[in-house]
């Protein structure tokens, strides 16, 4: 089975070479038969990659330690779920997952792209083939997951204990669906540059892909943040770690792309900019892959340390980013510029959004790469962390968040800022009220906290105002309003939900950072501690044995107001003997939207234990907001206009005619 997987991978590489060359030649020479090769080859390539991945997963599930990668990252005593998720909990397997998702997206274009102009489809598949070929070669040359060991070891070396977690089962696939999803936008852009032609149907095709990728990336980042929060036991949800930034930069650029693609689709303006953003977004995804997979970083995620890999990915990076930007420089002037608009208009607001988002992306990029560059050039070592990003990213994000509610209320082409402001009066009043209540009635609230809460409420109220205004609140009868509300385009709901989710996330961040409390103390069994109105009694340490670890489980009892026990919280120190590694399992109790979080430290000689506990108000909103943003993207995807099927076909002749002059 393992050799079958290896063989399938080699075949998939060979097919990717066909996929990158034949349709491209076909599109250049106008040969329909050559162009038609792209589809079946892409689908077969996906099937082979899936077979290869299945072979690796079955080697992991069956604990076949004759495979080097399984031996290094698995153990026969691991629970089955972590045996399977271990498939992508290591460098080789996660790269295979990367190409699996890449070929999957390619296959989707091949299967559902029948209404695309044939040359565009051929070129898109060819560019997908190029990316695929580069990464297949990378896997086969430097990161082959199918290398055998002889003689086969009897027992494996266990999966890194912090990765033995359900969060990690979901986080990488979601993140990759996002990262790699942007490859489609990239391929469409490069294909458009190759053809030297770009029209509204292009935007109609790119926007759903951007939405899909953005949705999964949002989920992946939120999931990763929650995983780090509960698994690492530090109680933080975002560390500005380079690996986190690596996924955050494509997200920021992707968010900009999402917005500029709307302008392009609706008003066929900002064409060249949208195209450039699509290229940049995927370039940042590639950069993220490089940062994480090459081992240039020393951080929790960077498992890989082989320099050969780093150089290889750097070459891929240079080739694709350099190549696409060069093509852009050569061809962009051929593309016709779009329509005019007044600065105060929906387009203008979206341009402003793009300016803020791309500049913010740039600051994150500098903060992430500067320490690397400095070390490479001078040998000096610095660390750039939260204080840097608070000072650079923060000031750029705050004004953007403040103007978000205006955007959807402005009309296309020429908007009326005064009318929009009048409509937002109620939202503003609610936000100011929230600000005052926070500042005056909550103990220890700083000016920043009050402003933060006000801003978050402003975003939420603004999103609701948008829906209210568009369904005719106050101007039509309630029954008609309901009918209008139900008849609103799905994308209007999508926008409102996404902006609402953003507000919720901000509320969670402000709540946790400004109103959270923490205590570090050493406790004897039987002692109680009080934190922000919650009383906890430490019951003691209880040794336990898991399938592949032993642990000291510290049990705590949450005491209700009446003095009776109100549920237990447990935090544990785990020891994984195979890797000789300790991990801390945090104990979390969700109360409403807030959480009580505790993690166990070392045992002192007198039998007391160091305990660190946090009260984190509204913390669940941070990730809950992410889920709402995902729901917004999903809602937009359901919009009739974006349903890529029969309706688009009917519209196509009109679009082609419009593109002619």
């Amino acid at each position: 089975m393992v050799e079958t997987g290896h063989f399938a991978l080699v075949l998939a590489f060979a097919l990717s070479l066909v996929q990158m060359l034949v349709p491209l030649v076909g599109a250049r020479t106008g040969n329909q038969r050559l162009m038609a090769v792209g589809g079946p080859v892409t689908v077969t390539g996906f099937a082979l990659t899936a077979l290869s991945f299945a072979a690796l997963a079955s080697a992991y599930a069956g604990s076949d330690f004759s495979v080097a990668s399984v031996w290094e990252n698995s153990h026969s005593l691991q629970p089955m779920i972590y045996k399977i998720t271990g498939t992508w909990g290591n460098h080789e397997g996660s790269m295979l997952l990367w190409v699996l998702i890449l070929t999957f997206f390619g296959a989707l274009v091949a299967v559902f792209g029948n209404n695309l102009p044939s040359t565009l489809k051929a070129n898109v598949l060819a560019v997908q083939g190029m990316i695929g070929a580069a990464f297949f070669l990378f896997i086969l040359a430097t990161s082959n997951p199918f290398i055998r060991l002889n003689p086969a070891p009897i027992e494996g070396r266990d999966l890194n204990p912090i990765l033995q977690d359900l969060g990690l089962a979901i986080h990488p696939p979601m993140l990759y669906l996002g990262y790699v999803g942007f490859s489609i936008c990239f391929s469409f852009s490069v294909a458009a540059l190759i053809e030297g032609r770009i029209d509204a149907s292009w935007a109609r095709w790119v926007r759903p892909w951007t939405l899909v990728a953005w949705m999964f990336l949002t989920g992946g980042i939120a999931m990763g943040s929650y995983w780090a929060y509960y698994e690492l036991g530090w109680g933080g949800f975002w560390f500005w770690d380079p690996v986190e930034n690596a996924s955050f930069m494509p997200w920021l650029a992707g968010t900009a792309l999402l917005h500029s693609a709307i302008v392009m689709e609706k008003r066929s303006a900002l064409k060249i900019w949208t195209l450039l953003l699509a290229i940049l977004t995927f370039s940042l995804s590639l950069l993220g892959t490089f940062l994480v997979r090459s081992g240039v970083l020393t951080s929790v995620h960077a498992f890989a340390t082989d320099p050969a890999r780093g150089v290889f990915i750097l070459c891929i990076l240079t080739l694709f980013i350099g190549g696409s930007l060069a093509l852009f420089a050569l061809r962009a002037s051929r593309l016709t510029a779009g329509g005019l608009f007044h600065p105060i208009s929906r387009e203008g607001a979206l341009v402003l959004n793009n300016l803020f988002l791309t500049t913010a992306t740039a600051t994150v990029l500098v903060g992430t790469l500067y320490p690397l560059a400095l070390e490479a050039l001078t040998g000096g070592k610095i660390s750039v962390g939260a204080p840097f990003f608070d000072l650079t990213f923060g000031p750029l994000m705050l004004p953007l968040l403040a103007i978000v509610p205006f955007g959807p209320l402005l009309a296309w082409k020429r908007g009326d800022i005064i009318a929009a402001s009048q409509r937002l009066m109620a939202a503003l009043a609610v936000a100011i009220a929230a600000m005052l209540v926070t500042g005056l009635f909550i103990d220890g609230a700083s000016v920043f906290a009050a402003l933060g809460v006000g801003l978050a409420v402003w975003l939420v109220a603004g999103a609701l105002t948008d829906l209210a205004v568009k369904s005719g609140f106050g101007s039509v009868a309630p029954a008609a309003m309901l009918r209008r509300f139900a008849g609103l385009p799905r994308s209007v709901f999508g926008t409102a939900l996404a902006h609402l989710g953003l507000g919720l996330t901000l509320l969670g961040i402000v709540g946790t950072l400004c109103f959270g409390t923490e205590k570090i103390l050493s406790m004897h069994p039987g002692e109680t501690v009080e934190l922000s109105g919650h009383t906890l009694r430490f019951e003691g340490l209880f040794p336990q044995k898991g399938p592949n670890f032993t642990e000291d489980r510290g049990r705590f009892m949450l005491m209700g107001a009446d003095g009776n026990a109100d549920g237990a919280i447990a935090s544990a120190k785990r020891f994984y003997p195979v890797r000789q590694t300790m991990t801390t399992e945090s104990g979390i109790r969700t109360i409403g939207l807030s959480q009580l979080y505790l993690s166990l430290g070392d045992e002192n000689k007198d039998g007391s234990v160091v305990v660190r506990l946090w009260w984190k108000p509204l913390v669940t909103l941070i990730w809950g907001g992410g889920l709402v943003m995902m729901a917004g993207a999903a809602m937009s995807l359901l919009d009739r206009r974006l349903r890529v099927g029969a309706p688009a076909k009917r519209r196509k002749p009109a679009v082609a005619a419009a593109a002619l002059p």
Partner: protein, 146 residues
Amino acid sequence: MTRKQKRLSVILAGLAFLGAAAGLTFYALGQKASYFYMPADLATASVPPGQRIRLGGLVEKGTIMRGQGATVAFSVTDKQKSVKVTYTGILPDLFREEQGVITEGAFGPDGVFVADSVLAKHDERYMPKEVADGLKAKGVWQESTN
């Protein structure tokens, strides 16, 4: 506005944004980035009390002392010099004698380094890159410590 004026205004706005961002970035890099030192570097470089730095090295053998409550004192060494560090909080799971560690914080007026974060990464064979490079440069690197 004509197309030309529009383009110019967008470009100017973009430049204004970039300028603001660049200004912030340079200021922040000067103020908020913390530099990495090993104990022997501190003899030559003068680091005023209160300036945030990262101090890295090995946890010196026999120096870990648990004091009152959750405060821990230990020394960080690069086998040439060592620096006393205090830290209040939960030490990472991999914090052990003779293991690589990076602490972040500032010197107090008494010359003791007060750390507010201690990093010892997750792999038991793992040595923080800065520490490993520093030990190699000082010629006290032993493969066995890795």
